[in-house]
Symmetry: C2
Subunit: 216 residues, 2 copies
């Protein structure tokens, strides 16, 4: 399964590329193809050092969408609308959103768009045949990057497309020790996304680092 990461040179994108490319074919996308190629090379060197083989390349965001079967949106919320509007070819693809609409003030707040969540905003922006899956929202970018450490968090996944949801849940379960959990329809994206500001606040107010969530 080819995985394209739009915004793959950002913190989360790069970390996901590192973790995913040892088991899947990963295409890092960026607005600047040269940057994507550079990050791809850095990732390959880091994995080489650990004696890990990987399948990784750097391309434009558009090529990442075109070539992939699963497109991961490794974007900060502020760039979501403009990036999606600048791209085409999402028809029939599984589109994974780890995007959380948040503001960082005195405290971290969930600030969803009028649609109710980033997931539902994507439903309006993307073609109807795009298979939107909300997942990976609650994992700290920093932890994605620490590839010598295992990730053992729970990963809540929601979508209106049952088959796409199952595919992404199976993908989650191939990464380190992550455990996928079905969180229901896309309507529930608000619940999954708003967990991230709670995690960040808990981290802040209790001076804990890289807090993760577990449902048991």
């Amino acid at each position: 399964m080819k995985i394209g990461i739009v915004g793959g040179t950002g913190d989360i994108g790069e970390g996901m590329a590192l973790r995913l490319s040892t088991r899947h074919e990963v295409i890092i996308g960026s607005r600047e193809e040269t940057k994507a190629r550079a990050v791809s090379t850095t990732c390959r060197l880091r994995l080489d050092e650990m004696g890990k083989a990987c399948c990784l390349s750097g391309v434009s965001n558009q090529a990442a969408v075109d070539e992939a079967e699963i497109v991961v949106l490794g974007l900060p919320y502020e760039h979501l609308v403009s990036t999606i509007r600048s791209l085409t070819g999402f028809e029939g693809k599984i589109v994974v959103s780890p995007v959380n609409p948040m503001t960082f003030g005195e405290t971290v707040s969930y600030v969803p768009p009028p649609e109710g969540s980033a997931g539902l905003l994507l439903k309006r922006l993307l073609p109807e045949s795009a298979r939107i899956v909300v997942a990976f929202n609650n994992i700290a970018a920093h932890r994605w990057q620490m590839i010598r450490e295992e990730l053992d968090y729970s990963v809540a996944v929601c979508s209106d497309d049952e088959e796409a949801k199952r595919t992404v849940m199976a993908l989650v379960d191939t990464i380190s020790n992550l455990t996928s959990l079905d969180a229901g329809p896309l309507k529930n994206a608000v619940l999954v996304e708003s967990l991230t500001p709670l995690i960040l606040n808990i981290s802040k107010y209790n001076r804990m680092k890289d807090v993760g969530v577990y449902f048991r």
Copy 2:
């Protein structure tokens, strides 16, 4: 510290009374005092059987408010406004809200009032000197009741009153193996409350029982 449980004859109220009364003085309140007394007796018998001493009595909701230093609102969201409006004497008291505004349809949804959360709704309803603390929102009523089993969940706590928050966090830490976590100001009640429908959905869609949450 005297703890009054308004709505103490409901599922969560009774479970909290069972867990709290072995270490604190607990006053179970109810609209019908006779019902409160009956539940108090049942709880005492259950704890007796386990050889546990407790300090427990049953009174009216109004007496539970009047006599307690900490008032826990063991109410379903639907009865929150009418119950609060029927009571007086909250001035200066610590008022703990484990209340989650939810609807149970095809999926469980968070349906907050216009104020943004049950916590902020209480801020409007209660006198200004009431010290509102949102806590215990994410623990299944059923797990409160299973007193032979330990509870080891994380309990997110938020409030605008730092001293009241610290008092409730210390109270959380006296119950079984629960771990309190500071979740910031009362504004964050929306994040703590909306975690409960996520937990219930994860429970439903993955056929898991009494799901709890851990932040680590």
